[in-house]
Amino acid sequence: MSHAQPVPDDRGHYGRFGGRFAPESLIAALDEVEAEWAKAKDDPAFQAEFDELLKSYAGRPSLLTEARNFSEHAGGARVLLKREDLNHTGSHKINNVLGQVLLTKRMGKTRVIAETGAGQHGVATATACALMGLDCVIYMGEEDTKRQALNVARMRMLGAEVVPVTIGSRTLKDAINETFRDWVANVDHTHYLFGTAAGPHPFPKLVRDLHFVVGAEARKQVLELTGRLPDAVAACVGGGSNAIAIFAAFIPDESVALYGFEAGGAGADTDQTAASITAGSHGVFHGARTFVLQDEYGQTLPSHSISAGLDYPAVGPEHAYLADTGRAVYEPVTDTEAMEAFRLLCRTEGIIPAIESAHALAGAMRLGKRLGPDAVILVNLSGRGDKDVNTAAAYFGLVDSEGQA
């Protein structure tokens, strides 16, 4: 299908989604980020510095790996993995943080704050701040600091201050609330380095732009390898940064189907889910109109996923728009399906994926069976699974209840 109106519009609307539902205190700062990014985007010196960091620090371009053995489990379709797991810090997150720390310096700010759920974005942010000599404070739900103690240690090793958030449900959404509260009070010298393609305008667009390289590289790599465009692109969706990262360059390619796989948890029809497009409804959350898991009075419902990185009760507004227009299709993948795909990739390809990315792999298995052996499916392997070894070991019974072999 074609898109008559470019999105977002100049106020950050993606059709009826997106926008800026933020306190007046933050509008000036959001305007500043928007204006500075508009300038930086067209500044060759900025782009050169960003590209150089992506190349010599993050390790781009990331590889495209054909998963020949895994393919058997995906109806024989060719499965091509975009290896964001091989980036420095272990996921696609590094693209966005490197871009935003450069932007922070351009704005003359000296302090960076960020939220983190599983710790991937927090670690990436702490890394980039260490590199650039910026003060760094990471807000993390107290529950998540317990689940991801090793990542807390990593961030502290990198010089960041990690603040456990003890209010509300003590998870990612509350960490985001707390980071906004810090930002309101310190906005004159602080940049909020938002980690996903959600939040008030311009964050969804800024984060998409900084990750655009992922899909652009992959598109070229798939053409080189197969001589054609893929039939489908698959990514996991929590807030949706890795999905928009790999989708964006393919949106104009009408023959390429785009699939986002949400965290179904125990099932999208249960209350133990994080599948906000499948199971949620229209609402305003964290600064944007989007799909959100909420009760009949608009109170946010607790989300659930085995993957901390997808455990978020809403989704970025561009995904809401792509779902609404039908340009992308969003389906839930349960914890069980994701863990089976996780196991299969480990065993068949010798790659331990992040549990987040395992949702995309489970989706690719489903798509491959649907599309058959002639299909080419591109999967964003958005992160590596080192951080998930404890969860996976407990899930598969590889260690006893004390975590001993």
């Binding site: 800026r20 306190p23 007046e24 205190s25 000036a28 309101v184 906005v187 305003v284 608009g298």
Partner: protein, 270 residues
């Protein structure tokens, strides 16, 4: 259009050459019936206007005290319908009753339905801390139709252009955030407050739109200080704190009434 009770209250205060006292409490804190009694004590103590808070799961602009109060309200099962019931009881005290709400619960309830029900309950208007005029198209229509005041916020970081835009979109009053930060008590009134009121006055000279100042005001002396240049003084966390600190509701009511009396004296000593 006839004046709302809010407009009348603010005009009366102006006539008496004092600032109005605006008190905030989340509906349902500590439970629905008790919140009505706390609000009655606030009005007895001298509040002219009550902001009935609609408790929300993700209060991005609130500090720990109001977060705790809202959490208690949600835990006690408070719904939007309960909020409307508290508004009705508030209006019955003779004070002007406003709702202070993050936008999502209103949108979820139905913007037009909420406006209609609120007007029916005797509410005078709504303060929307995370809704800016640019996103408020549906709210304009619904509030116009129901005859409700629309209160948006201005902040020390607002540009002059935005002060003009935002005050132009308000009726009743404009909420001037005294500082860059979230709700909660502070040792001193921020020096950004007076400057913001002065800049806001410059764009409301013709309309005469009242300016009420909130965030961080929690003593009679602070209320007096702000009353010197503002049309209204907004106090929230201080009331919540007294309820949180009290061993039982009756003790809390005494403390709340006496606190309102102190503040009320403050807004009268310009």
């Amino acid at each position: 259009m006839t004046a709302t009770t809010l407009q009348t209250k603010l005009a009366q205060a102006r006539e008496a050459d004092r600032a109005a006292l605006v008190g905030y409490l989340p509906a349902g804190f500590p439970d629905v019936d008790s919140s009505i009694r706390v609000i009655q004590a606030m009005v007895e103590g001298g509040c002219d206007v009550i902001e009935v808070g609609l408790p929300y799961s993700d209060p991005m602009m609130d500090g720990p005290t109001i977060q705790r109060a809202a959490d208690r309200a949600l835990a006690s099962g408070t719904t939007t319908d309960d909020v409307l019931r508290v508004v009705e009881a508030t209006a019955a005290t003779g004070a002007a009753a406003l709702v202070m709400s993050y936008w999502n619960p209103i949108e979820r309830y139905g913007v037009e339905r909420f406006a209609t029900e609120l007007a029916k309950a005797g509410g005078a208007g709504v303060i929307t801390p995370d809704l800016i005029p640019e996103e408020a198209e549906e709210w304009y229509a619904a509030s116009e139709q129901a005859g409700l005041d629309r209160i948006f916020l201005v902040a020390p970081s607002s540009t002059d252009r935005r002060l003009e835009l935002t005050t132009g979109a308000c009726s009743g009053f404009v909420y001037a955030a005294s500082l860059m930060g979230v709700t909660g008590t502070r040792a001193q009134v921020a020096d950004t407050a007076e400057a913001l009121v002065r800049r806001t006055r410059a764009v409301t000279r013709e309309s005469g739109l009242p300016i009420c100042v909130g965030l961080g005001i929690s003593t009679a002396a602070q209320a007096a200080e702000v009353a010197a240049y503002a049309d209204g003084v907004i106090v929230g966390a201080g009331f919540c704190q007294r309820v949180l600190d009290a061993p039982d509701l009756e003790t809390g009511l005494v403390a709340v009434r006496s606190f309102a009396e102190d503040l009320s004296a403050g807004v009268r000593s310009r």
